[in-house]
């Protein structure tokens, strides 16, 4: 029963991070702050949800796969955000696709 309680808590926290991340992206003024919001939602939100689900997992294989998914998602997420920030910093004032 305790495990269920913990999972509920972790998953709810994770979802809240996602929601706040999305709100951040909608409301923040420039790209960098949005990137900040994205990495938070990305890393922590998913991490908490994976943690919550891992508690429910019955077999070790499931936990292993959950961990793998989280690592890959977090890794590619943060790299992508780094590249975005890098690209934003260097980009001159004229965005190439201003409609």
């Amino acid at each position: 029963m305790v495990l269920d309680g913990l999972s509920l808590l972790a998953v709810t926290a994770g979802v809240l991070f996602f929601v706040s991340g999305t709100l951040g992206i909608l409301r923040f003024p420039d790209v960098f702050s949005r990137l900040h919001a994205l990495t938070k939602a990305d890393g922590l939100g998913l991490g908490l949800i994976v943690l919550g689900l891992a508690l429910q997992a019955t077999s070790l294989a499931v936990i292993g796969k959950l961990a793998l998914v989280w690592i890959v998602a977090a890794l590619s997420g943060s790299t992508a955000c780094y590249l975005m920030a890098h690209f934003e910093l260097e980009r001159a004032q004229e965005p190439h696709d201003r409609a």
Partner: protein, 315 residues
């Protein structure tokens, strides 16, 4: 619980339509592609809701990933020069609206006539499944019941890659190399991702016989991994000698041709798998298809981007 199912279905459906509308009607081409990529992601969720994990696997890699990458590549080269797309005249838009609406109404009328409880061929497949070499319904349909479809499908992939390679041969254009030399971070990421992709597509291939997965999903994922490698400067496909590349590209069709040729000579049907050893045949065929699909995918995406020396200096 039941109410929740309906809410989930409807919200995925609404999201799909909204994404499609946004993707089709935003003026800026890059926004349209961004929405199309999101459309592919939600499409994979729709397959999940329809209990079609095989399709979710394929759609996740093809819909959002590969088609999105292809469109981004093409848009970067074409749209950047021509600027805003030419907006069609209002008369044309009106007629197209009317025609599409007419087709839509006709299809809804037809949909109402579809029997809501029919089971299609589910029963027939379930009965015949034990006689086939594999336990997973979709793989048995693809490689046993309707193997001819898959044979032609590998031929269609070969045709697409021939067209791209013919165009590539015409364009002796030195295109700026694909790899991102400037960022060690990316090559670091790719270095870590490559083994994961390789192991995971092997798992998908092996799982195909008894669980969702199979040749095409594994092939497409392997292809995506190949593209990541090309991006990080590790040239796999583009450094292959021409003859080897052609062999690997046609491996799927060649595998089918070899199999059906021997079956015909043995007096069996064109693709009538023998009782004994059918499982090894199917697995061998799946490996051949996965490899050729992977290389086809990489050639399709990277094919029109390779750094091509003019003919004289070719190594």
């Amino acid at each position: 619980m039941i109410g929740l199912e309906v809410v989930f279905d409807v919200s995925v459906a609404v999201l799909l339509v909204v994404l499609a509308l946004e993707s089709l009607y935003t003026p800026n081409l890059f926004t349209s592609i961004a929405f199309f990529i999101a459309f592919g992601l939600v499409m994979a969720l729709a397959w999940v809701r329809l209990q079609a994990p095989d399709l979710a696997l394929a759609e996740a890699a093809v819909g959002a990933g590969l088609t999105g990458v292809l469109l981004l590549d093409a848009a970067r080269e074409i749209a950047a020069v021509r600027g805003v797309e030419r907006t069609p005249r209002s008369m044309v838009r009106l007629t197209s609206l009317l025609v599409a609406a007419g087709v839509g109404v006709a299809l809804v009328a037809a949909l109402l006539e579809v029997p809501p409880r029919a089971a299609g061929l589910a029963e027939a497949v379930r009965e015949a499944l034990p006689l086939t070499a594999v336990e997973h319904g979709v793989t048995s349909v693809l490689l046993d019941f309707r193997a001819l479809d898959t044979f032609f499908e590998t031929a269609v992939l070969l045709l697409a890659v021939i067209t791209v390679l013919v165009l590539q041969a015409h364009q002796h254009v030195r295109i700026i190399p694909w790899e991102l030399s400037a960022s060690p971070v990316l090559s670091g990421l790719v270095g870590l991702l490559a083994p994961v992709v390789l192991v995971f597509s092997g798992y998908l291939l092996w799982a195909g016989t008894h669980a969702p997965g199979g040749a095409f999903q594994a092939g497409v994922l392997l292809g995506a991994g190949g593209i990541l490698l090309e991006l990080a400067g590790v040239h796999t496909v583009s450094r292959l000698p021409r003859r080897a590349l052609r062999w690997l590209l046609s491996l799927g069709v060649a595998g089918f041709a070899l199999l059906s040729g021997t079956l015909l000579l043995a007096g069996r049907g064109l693709l009538e798998l023998p009782g004994a050893g059918a499982r090894t045949i199917v697995i061998a065929l799946e490996i051949a298809i996965a490899v050729s699909v992977a290389l086809t995918v990489v050639s399709l995406v990277v094919g029109s981007n390779l750094r091509l020396e003019p003919p004289e200096q070719e190594p």
